[in-house]
Symmetry: D2
Subunit: 297 residues, 4 copies
């Protein structure tokens, strides 16, 4: 199976490298040719346009930033859809709006191309180690066909439902995770205000009903006041925009998520968008006029 | 070490039984003598008043409902403090306000008695199996002294800090847990509104960054629409009252917790206070006019 | 001054009629020619396309629904911008996103056309009576030039600032108003839950510091449980989308507005989008399981 | 009618002076005798205890701070209830919990004394000018009897319902007013973030549907960044505690009020409790990392 790949960023590059390592012939396209150089060195072929890339492969993988990027990539002049052959599959692994995913799937379908939305969780470490969790929306048969390709990049591949369903699951994932971080921040702040050591409170809560990945990993970062590394908070802010747009479109009230979103807005206004989202603790402190601790950069 | 025990409810009875099983001599007092009958049958001695119970033991354990209950038990006529000898220790394992715990510790201290706040997490199962997590606030030496007694009831015993600190940790535990349940409810509701199977979404999120005990256990109950069993929601509602009072006293804003609290208020207004807190899903559905699913009683 | 008018809905039609009444020569364009018939009967000239309408006038007024509608009207094939002459002014009185208003102003400016954003408040009654409040963003000189036209439709015309500023003011207006309605709903609900007559509480609050147009007019509707008439709630829901998008773009947290928005989402999910926004009272009641009162249709 | 008065603070003193001015014989009691000196100079008689004060009058007026103060005043040793004669009326004009008002009314009733809750709105200016709005809960006949006394202090006197109803109305008043202030703050902050002059936005909104006393008076203070004077914010914080306790007791969700309360918590944590509540604008700015403007003290 010949694979095309677009989006050689922090996530995309190691994902493409894993495809090469698994033995797939890989063609790439990059806006700036130089970003493709490491991949070429590893055996990938460079194509001059998305359309040219698409014309020659069975499946295209894309890993870019937002809804607009994917739309331009697929529908633009010299875009993927201008090149993809009937029967080809485009697996978009970016985090975009479910409505955009559905609309693109419909447009692709008109030309006999299958579009799958397949956002991931697991971060850069998961991309490097090929252990991403992949949430897929779209045609089941097409997923079966491209599964070997996805298996070179991820550990669990789960079809959630029809087109857009992968993106809905991803939006839910981001909401639950960041809400758990915010709950940690509120708990640790309350402890500190109450004169109790936040580290001890976190320790007391591990293993019990309050246990979560967020409390374990990101609660620990909060306790150490290390707000570096990790997924950049601005990406979570972007993902909450997708979430709340979808909720508004459906008329589905999300009272807690809406409030977490406002904390992310405050985070952005503090110009902490490139820090780790655990810095929600400092947003909370600052809103209460407490500004003792300096974050590490 | 002779132990007195007060509060033979769903949690307290198995805790007292575990003390007997571990070989401690146990005296009990109960408002209605008949509730003590099973304990007497198992070897406990019945005392006519809290003061009489206290006069004869090295340590008293209490497991009652709210701040007012503990205050009456300790400070009332014929209350514990009228009987406890200098050097005795009162370990209150109820969930009460940190300020009440601090005030009682101060009152006890005047008479040479040590009061420890030691609320638990782990539910009825933890009480029966002796695997509770016990969060302790108060004097370190006294805790060391009574630790063998606590070890008969719990698996992890962690001193969080001075008087009241155990209750602060417990308030944080409840807040993080119920917030995680509410986030699950919002995610699963959004999925359903979006036409995606909530069970699939939950499955896709397990194991990733959104993982929590709430998603695993209570998310599963939501998917099955089984809102029975578990900790009664009205107790979480009560605990949020403690949490928000403490936050107000300290001037510590808890934006997300405040909103979860309103959902618990709505839950109470729906007269679902004796159901499992996972019924927050139905609160959310009903607010949006969706009322398809019937909860099991 | 020759005037072109687009958007002959509940608001637009009486506005155009007021222009005719004031003696301005008015040309209209309508997607469906028949909707222009009453205006033609009153003396307006019908044009076949927006471009044709624009080619012949000094100022165009538009009053349509959303950002997309205005974009299509201005930039579409045979759109206004294809016809407007350098020096002409386009006054868009629709409620749209500030960013869209700014972008359209920039596009118009390239062709020497001035685009003013000029949303209104005052409802259908204000449109009929020519007493609208008009909030204007954009070039001051152009506003002076077209002021006589605006004065035929509104009583107060205030330039708030540069392009987009009128829309920002409108978003603020909608937010403050609907938030006041929600606060009324919460107060009246609390009164009822507390066994106190909501009508008496409202009466006691009139004239004091809690006084607002919302309490006076819409609080009275809530007390009578008459949720008909008025601005359709779905339009407020739409306007909150604009507000929250702008807040997200700027990283400006709006904690209360975000929560009001969720109540509007719940309102939509209850399929009450065509009722008056005072039905927020019933959203609140229903979330608490209280569903005694039937709204009038 | 002989009148006793307790509570000679910023509100109480001018209220008592208005009673003297209206010709009522007034007896006063004060914890520190010197605070009664100006009243004595104006013709009031000083009594050594609340009980002594009560023994000699037909009606007692109290104007103190919180629920605990009123409880101690009525029920304490040498408290009012120890002195009041059957048929006497105690009008408490403090802002306290509805449940406390109801409990005190019941206790007084056992001794043949009528307790009316009669909180006010109108601030110090209203107290000085005798133009307070008085919201009364309790027995209608007793209110008729003491009305001449109340008319010396207030302009509108409205019986809202049975015992506690006056306090419910007052809680609603505070909630609606502070929520309107918070909405103003959010609107003006959004305007500033968007590059639009907040003063112009406020001006554009006056007179329209967004009109409120808060926008007119306190919005103007926000625009001038003058956060001095007015009702101290810590009193609004206290009143929200009453409101949210009542809501929790009733299981009545107040989603917006709960969020405003958190902003007041943040205000307290910033140690701005003695400033005017319009400083909510700065709470919002600070949470977003914006800290340009210095408040006047």
């Amino acid at each position: 199976m010949k694979v095309g790949f677009v989006g050689l960023g922090a996530m995309g590059r190691p994902m493409a490298e894993n495809l090469l390592r698994a033995g797939f012939p890989v063609a790439v396209w990059a806006r700036r040719a130089q970003s493709a150089a490491p991949l070429e060195a590893a055996g990938a072929v460079l194509r001059p346009t998305p359309a040219a890339l698409a014309a020659d492969v069975d499946v295209v993988i894309s890993m870019v930033t937002g809804s607009g990027d994917v739309e331009a990539l697929v529908l633009g002049g010299e875009g993927l859809l201008a090149g993809l052959r009937p029967g080809a599959v485009h697996v978009d692994m970016s985090t975009i709006a479910p409505t955009t995913a559905r609309a693109l799937a419909a447009r692709c379908s008109e030309k006999g191309v299958v579009f799958l939305d397949a956002p991931v969780s697991g971060g850069v470490a998961g991309a490097v180690n090929g252990t991403l969790a992949i949430m897929v929306g779209g045609d089941e048969g097409a997923l079966e066909k491209v599964k070997p390709v996805l298996e070179a990049m991820g550990k669990t591949i789960l079809r959630v439902g029809p087109s857009g369903a992968g993106q809905v699951a991803k939006a839910c994932n981001q909401m639950i995770f960041v809400t758990a971080e915010q709950a940690c921040a509120e708990a640790l702040r309350l402890a500190a205000a109450s004169g109790v050591d936040p580290a001890r409170v976190r320790e007391a809560l591990l293993g019990g009903s309050a246990w979560s990945r967020a409390l374990e990993g990101w609660g620990e970062k909060m306790v150490r006041r290390d707000f570096s590394g990790g997924v950049e908070a601005r990406l979570h802010h972007k993902d909450f925009g997708i979430l709340m747009d979808e909720a508004m479109r459906l008329g589905a009230p999300l009272p807690i998520a809406a409030q977490v979103w406002q904390q992310l807005d405050a985070l952005m206004s503090n110009e902490w968008g490139r820090k780790d989202t655990s810095i929600l603790l400092r947003v909370l402190e600052r809103s209460g006029g407490v500004d003792s601790g300096e974050e590490r950069m």
